[in-house]
């Protein structure tokens, strides 16, 4: 029960963080399940995880019906898969976690795009077909955390995934994506109540796309920005590829006293990511473009955690600065700046040992400024964002637990959506039952997206069954 409560609690406070090849927000089904490896992004934080040792096997599925979607996105998405996780404390100082997730994603009625996430890049590829795309592949996660001395803890995280996609039209389009992601982090206890964190993350993603057309030549377009495209030379088979390369550096300071209910944290992260897009392959390459993104984030929270009440106040500021250049002429074709600032408060009330009521509210601002020098477009927006949620967890019997919750969120959107924002209404319910050694946890999430200025709505549901031993 404690685990499932914690999982959802984390979900409600922070936005989902996807891995390199998972869907970007609202591209398909946002995977809302929070598992250990997702919530503990910093390996050294893993030390504080107080969940039960054991194995967790999950089956999950879901569907998103996107009546309102961007042009090159699917009309609906079906997701299903299975995951196996294991967590062990090897000794007092060492912890280990490993997981494998095999996920299938079906994009129905995907118009032209040969990509899973057409809008996730400033340089994208499309062909001339509309069809169904099937993506699948395994994702492997490995966490390791070790206390070297009483003061120093270090952690290592490795994430590795491959995925392939096939479009089921007589004109075939294939994708292959490979990502590797390593994070090393450390926490040092400077003196009794102060801890210093540092981490470094390095990741690479290689994506290849192939359009094959039977009887006729495949016609591939390379999009430079979102308005201008270059028709590639037609051929029976056209290969394109994109390479992403990035790192993050971060540091943080934690104040936490064992006997005090107060704790405080402040951190700063910066990162750079570069992407290049090519027609052809590395052995026979023709540069199409390059874009680079610089990322800065500041985060702080203060928490008061007493026996019957816990209160968290947090603030976060993120800033992105991107630019792209054309591959052939080495000239800047776009610049993009984005800032997100929001703050919030979370309140947890503990009625009994394992029953609680959580309320959270956050509000902020989302601002961007996009300049496309090829199409001569300048687009900017300044939107309010907010989210409120309520969660109730009950444990009426020692072997049974319930969790229900609801949230409302205003989500500002990028210019590619053609609308400024959408509202998301979400409810979820989880149930846990432990007849013997095994614990069974079925849960359900349903959400409704209402785009501003449109009479269309998007439905999204997900169901998951976990067995923990």
């Amino acid at each position: 029960m404690k685990k499932i409560t914690y999982l959802f609690g984390i979900l409600l406070l922070f936005a989902a963080e996807g891995y390199a090849y998972t869907n970007s927000q609202y591209q398909g089904i946002p995977v809302m399940w929070r598992t250990l490896w997702e919530m503990q992004n910093m390996p050294h934080h893993f030390k504080d995880y107080n969940g039960r040792e054991g194995n967790l096997t999950s089956l999950y599925g879901g569907q998103a019906l996107n009546d309102y979607h961007r042009l090159y996105e699917p009309g609906s998405v079906i997701l299903f898969g299975g995951m196996f996780e294991t967590f062990r404390r090897l000794n007092e100082r060492t912890r280990l976690y490993a997981a494998i997730d095999f996920r299938n994603t079906h994009h129905q009625n995907q118009y032209r795009s040969v990509e899973k996430d057409f809008y996730g890049s400033y340089i994208s590829f499309s062909d001339t077909t509309k069809g169904n795309f099937q993506f699948n592949g395994p994702l492997i996660d490995f966490f390791y955390s070790q206390d070297f001395t009483d003061r120093l803890t270090m952690g290592l995280k490795i994430n590795y995934g491959v995925e392939q996609g096939i479009k089921d039209v007589y004109t075939q389009a294939r994708t292959r994506e490979l990502n590797s992601d390593i994070t090393v982090s450390a926490r040092y206890n400077v003196f009794s109540s102060f801890f210093m964190d540092a981490w470094i993350r390095r990741y690479r993603v290689r994506s290849t796309f192939e359009a094959v057309k039977e009887f006729q030549d495949a016609l591939v377009w390379t999009w430079i920005g979102y308005s201008v495209f270059r028709p590639e030379n037609p051929g029976s088979s056209i290969n394109t590829e994109r390479n992403k390369n990035g790192y993050n550096l971060g540091s943080g300071l934690l104040h936490r006293k064992a006997e005090s209910p107060f704790s405080m944290y402040v951190s700063f992260t910066r990162g750079t990511e570069e992407n290049d897009a090519r027609k052809g392959t590395r052995s026979d390459t023709s540069q199409r473009g390059f874009w680079q993104s610089s990322y800065y984030e500041g985060l702080t929270w203060i928490k008061y955690d007493y026996t019957t009440v816990a209160m968290t106040v947090f603030g976060q500021y993120c800033y992105n600065e991107d630019w792209g250049k054309t591959g052939l002429y080495n000239a800047v074709f776009m610049e993009y700046e984005e800032s997100r600032i929001h703050g919030g408060v979370g309140l947890d009330l503990y009625f009994r040992e394992s029953s609680s009521l959580s309320l959270s509210l956050r509000a902020g601002n989302f601002k961007y400024d996009y300049k496309d020098y090829l199409s001569r477009e300048i687009l900017s927006s300044d939107e309010l964002s907010w989210r409120g949620s309520i969660d109730l967890s009950l444990r009426p019997y020692p072997v049974t637990a319930w969790l229900v919750g609801a949230s409302v969120e205003k989500i500002p959107l990028h210019f590619t959506w053609k609308i400024p924002s959408m509202m998301r209404y979400q409810i979820y319910a989880g149930f846990e039952y432990q007849p013997g050694l095994n614990r069974f946890c079925p849960s359900l999430i349903y959400s409704l997206d209402v785009p501003e200025g449109s009479d269309k709505i998007n439905n999204n549901w997900q169901i998951k069954l976990c067995v923990m031993r």
Binding site: D217, V228, P231, P234, Y329
Partner: protein, 376 residues
């Protein structure tokens, strides 16, 4: 054990620190959409001396079009000023073709005559901002290969037997097809030395007068002069064409199965052992028209007998099969197999000996007429 693990962690941390110092690109100082180009438009008066005794006329008020071939939909238009110059600004980098096609009012016996000209160029940081474009009063006269339809109609049975070649008489005089040859060429190293197919019109070359082509008229040479719309059933070839009324038909008398429309005269195969119809490739190929004085294909076709040559390829990075002396470029870039597309000169008979400039890609063939003037 702990020491080993500590060493492992520190080593991996240092490795990532070093690894993370990845080389990031410098942001370029040049932005797209900031380039400019000035063209001075001159009229080529060679051969027209009697009309322009004193000086070459200034082409003022002439519309000039710039088309960017790197990106779709980038066309820029402007008029020449009183000095015959035209200025474009806010241009993105890229490969361009500047073109002029205008009925210019001359103040001499030429009256209002069409002035045409094209020039290809690149725009980038190091390219010159000024350039010249030579315009001509008309294209070079003579018999031309005006259109080649080789892509086949949209279909799923690999059907491309509705291919045709269209000729156009761009001269002021009647020309005669007697004894002329039409060849499909392979990659040639010296002149036209690699003949793949050779088909010939009946009659005596050069001196024959049985098969005239009037000035400004078209001649369609069909691979098979039949109605291709119904040849394989109505469901499969609905977008093909009816070539029953073609002017000529390629018929290989050594190919006993070749279709022969008895109502259409034939060009026959001259190459011994060749048992195929006049089929040209859907990707890239070369078509040659010569006056027929040299039909000894073993050593190639003599240069002085060649009337017109057109090279085509759907690839912009195509490596040329023939020398620039015969055709400085190639047509058909971007053409798609089995799409019904065709290549045709931008104006009837327009010829600068550079097929990249002279031809345009059509979505549908136009046998016996020009796409700009369908009612002529």
């Amino acid at each position: 054990m702990v020491n080993h693990l500590r060493t492992l962690f520190i080593a991996s941390f240092l490795f990532l620190v070093l690894f993370s110092c990845m080389e990031v690109d410098e942001k370029p100082s040049v932005y797209e959409g900031t380039q400019s180009k000035t063209f001075s438009i001159y009229l080529d008066t060679s051969g027209l001396g009697r009309f322009f005794l004193d000086s070459s006329p200034v082409l003022a008020g002439v519309p000039v079009n710039l088309k960017n071939y790197d990106y779709h939909g980038f066309n820029f238009n402007a008029l020449t000023d009183d000095s015959g110059r035209v200025f474009f600004d806010s241009l993105p980098n890229g490969y361009y073709i500047a073109s002029v096609g205008y009925d210019f009012p001359f103040d001499n016996e030429l009256g209002t005559s069409r002035v045409t000209g094209q020039k290809e160029f690149y725009i980038h940081e190091d390219a010159s901002e000024s350039d010249t474009l030579i315009a001509r009063v008309s294209g070079k006269p003579g018999l031309k290969i005006n259109e080649i339809y080789y892509m086949g109609p949209p279909n799923r049975i690999f059907y491309f037997y509705d291919q045709f070649i269209e000729l156009y008489n761009a001269s002021a005089d009647t020309v005669y097809l007697d004894g002329m040859i039409v060849c499909r060429m392979g990659a040639s190293t010296i002149g036209a030395d690699n003949v793949t197919y050779i088909f010939q019109f009946p009659g005596e070359p050069v001196i024959g007068r049985e098969y005239p082509v009037a000035p400004g008229s078209f001649v369609v040479l069909a691979q098979d002069a039949i109605n291709h719309v119904i040849v394989q059933g109505k469901d499969t070839l609905v977008n093909s064409i009816d070539l029953t009324n073609a002017d000529w038909e390629f018929v290989n008398s050594q190919d006993y199965a070749d279709t022969d429309n008895p109502n259409v005269p034939n060009l026959d195969n001259l190459k011994e052992g060749h048992r195929l119809d006049f089929m040209i490739a859907l990707g890239s190929d070369v078509v040659l028209l010569a006056d027929g004085r040299d039909v000894d294909y073993i050593d190639g076709i003599d240069m002085e007998t060649i009337i017109d040559v057109v090279e085509y390829s759907s690839s912009s990075s195509h490596i040329k099969d023939i020398t620039e002396e015969l055709d400085a470029g190639w047509a058909g870039v971007g053409a798609i197999k089995y799409s019904g597309q065709s290549i045709e000169r931008i104006e009837p008979g327009f010829d600068t000996d550079n097929s990249t400039i002279d031809f345009t890609l059509l979505n549908a063939p136009t046998p016996g007429y020009h796409h700009k003037y369908p009612n002529d």
